[in-house]
């Protein structure tokens, strides 16, 4: 029988706070982390259709004299490392007493080291000096630099992998971390999601894709509004979330605090379009159903869904279609919220941060509000969505994440008992 997998530690770097206590407090009171982008240097901001983002303005990694790992990687991996440190500390794991071969790292990353990437590319084209490209350029921009630096920092010698599936990356990372433990490849996994690419080029790319919110530019805190009639795109964010996954046996033996059980996971493809979800929502529904089957949980048992809900017109509507297909009339009794209403879409970090929010909700029987849900869109309005936090005894939660490239991922979390 496969091992049961539980969450025993969490850490976060987010636009509404660094560290779980700050993040959760801000989330419950419905604080927005969205603000105007000050500038992209000399680039004309009026050339950007959107000029707001969920920025972690207070993020200050330790300098090279304090910590030898942070300065070797790009901002996204620094955030991942900081979140992982908090998660390890929160879990109470004493790494040096554990078997290094039984500790692994699974990272979810969408964009990677784009700050270094854009800087070096700019310099190369500006100054035509190929020999001046930084020697750390390649190890920094490779998408596995976060998982690599975390493995180094904690001496983790188990699986050391990165999943890159755009916006859903860290849901799949958590799912695969769970699978590693189920398959007996590890007893403990640091599952982390991270992205920090609010950079001139990446941001311009999302603008050109017409994926970003262009309304409420003068009121940034109101721009990310999932399920609301006034939504017109997502707000890009940055951050990282980390979770310590352990086999139940390992966690029990060391009397660890358990936030929730990761009970099920499913991954599917729509094989439909690179950036647009299929309109009937049936593949999303299929993914949720498969994850529930994996968890051996009946749809009737689901109390709460942390929706992918990026605040795009089509995406939110399709996800609700999927929810209706899975839960039928009972959909009205399920609590639903969107973490992206608070922090924007943190891309590769979003699934991990949503899983953290959901685990805290299961642990504390309260879900954070979906802010700016003031004028429910009839196409995706549900009774369980609220602009206020909601208290309810929660037993089972779904966390949804969908990504460019036509991929879907769903996790099933259960209150541990």
């Amino acid at each position: 029988m496969a091992a049961r997998v539980v969450i025993t530690g969490m850490g976060v770097v987010s636009p509404i706070g660094i560290g779980i206590p700050r993040f959760w407090k801000a989330a419950l009171r419905g604080q927005s982390g969205i603000s105007a982008i000050e500038s992209f240097g000399d680039l004309p901001m009026e050339g950007y259709r959107s000029r707001i983002a969920g920025q972690v303005s207070s993020f200050e990694p330790p300098g090279p004299d304090e910590d030898k790992f942070f300065s070797r990687v790009d901002r996204y991996a620094q955030m991942a490392l900081m979140a992982a440190k908090e998660a390890i500390q929160d879990s109470g794991l004493t790494i040096e007493y554990e078997r290094a071969e039984r500790l692994g790292v699974m990272a979810g990353v969408g964009m990677g080291g784009m700050i270094m990437g854009e800087r070096e590319l700019t310099n190369l084209y500006d100054f035509h000096k190929p020999h001046r490209v930084h020697p750390n350029f390649i190890p920094t921009i490779t998408l596995n630099s976060a998982s690599g630096i975390i493995a180094l920092a904690f001496g983790a010698k188990g699986p050391n992998l990165t999943v890159s599936t755009a916006c859903s990356s860290s849901i799949h990372a958590i799912g695969h971390a769970m699978q590693c433990i189920r398959l007996g490849q590890a007893d403990m996994m640091i599952a982390v999601g991270a992205d920090a690419s609010i950079t001139p080029l990446v941001f311009a790319g999302f603008c050109s894709l017409r994926a970003l919110a262009t309304k409420y530019q003068d009121r940034p805190s109101q721009a990310s509004r999932p399920f609301d009639r006034g939504r017109n795109g997502f707000v890009m964010g940055e951050g990282a979330g980390a979770l310590i996954l352990e086999s139940l046996q390992h966690a029990t033996r060391r009397k660890a605090r358990i936030y929730a059980e990761v009970a099920g996971y499913a991954a599917t493809s729509e094989a439909y379009h690179m950036v647009i979800p299929k309109e009937d929502g049936l593949d999303i529904a299929r993914t949720m159903t498969l994850a529930l089957q994996d968890a051996k949980v009946h749809p009737q048992q689901v109390d709460y869904v942390n929706a992918h809900a990026t605040s795009t017109i089509v995406g939110d509507e399709v996800e609700v279609k999927g929810l209706r297909a899975v839960f039928g009339k009972r959909v009205g009794k399920i609590l639903v919220n969107a973490t992206k209403s608070l922090i924007g879409h943190t891309l590769g970090a979003s699934g991990a941060i949503a899983t953290i929010a959901s685990s805290l909700s299961l642990d504390k029987n309260i879900i954070h509000p979906t802010i700016n849900y003031t004028d429910p869109d009839p196409h995706c309005a549900l009774p369980g969505i609220s602009s206020k936090s909601q208290k309810k005894s929660l037993g089972t939660a779904l966390v949804n994440a969908f990504g460019f490239g036509s991929n879907n991922g769903v996790l099933v979390l259960k209150k541990f008992s």
Binding site: R75, N123, P135, T140, T199
Partner: protein
């Protein structure tokens, strides 16, 4: 005790300042006989980074064939003195080494917010 900065050669001082900047050490604590690997603990990538910093500061390229010569601080100083003499390079580096960034990758330095528009 050996004085680490040989003579009053301003060029050498700038070389030491560049090395000290990368190593995050007071240049006065560096000695010509210090081995990059054994005394300063640089691994192969860090040695490449050090050479990169030197190349950037003095605007020159160090060919792979010359890399093996650079085993100690003194080797680097001698080599640079030779190279800059040969190329009649200006006495002062193109960039003030003391103003170079401390981070070994400078990964957090956003390109659009850089204050120095010159190439590295």
């Amino acid at each position: 005790m050996t004085m680490p900065l040989p003579s009053s050669n301003g060029h050498s001082r700038q070389i030491y300042a560049t090395l000290g900047d990368y190593l995050r050490r007071d240049p006065l604590t560096l000695h010509p006989e210090d081995s990059l690997r054994d005394d300063l603990g640089l691994d192969s990538l860090q040695t490449i980074e050090l050479v990169y910093q030197v190349e950037s500061a003095f605007d020159l390229q160090i060919p792979d064939d010359d890399f093996g010569r650079l085993q100690t601080i003194g080797d680097v100083v001698t080599y640079l003195n030779e190279r800059t003499d040969l190329t009649h390079h200006q006495a002062s580096p193109i960039q003030n080494p003391t103003k170079q960034k401390k981070s070994s990758t400078n990964a957090t330095t956003k390109p659009w917010s850089r204050s120095n528009a010159s190439p590295k």
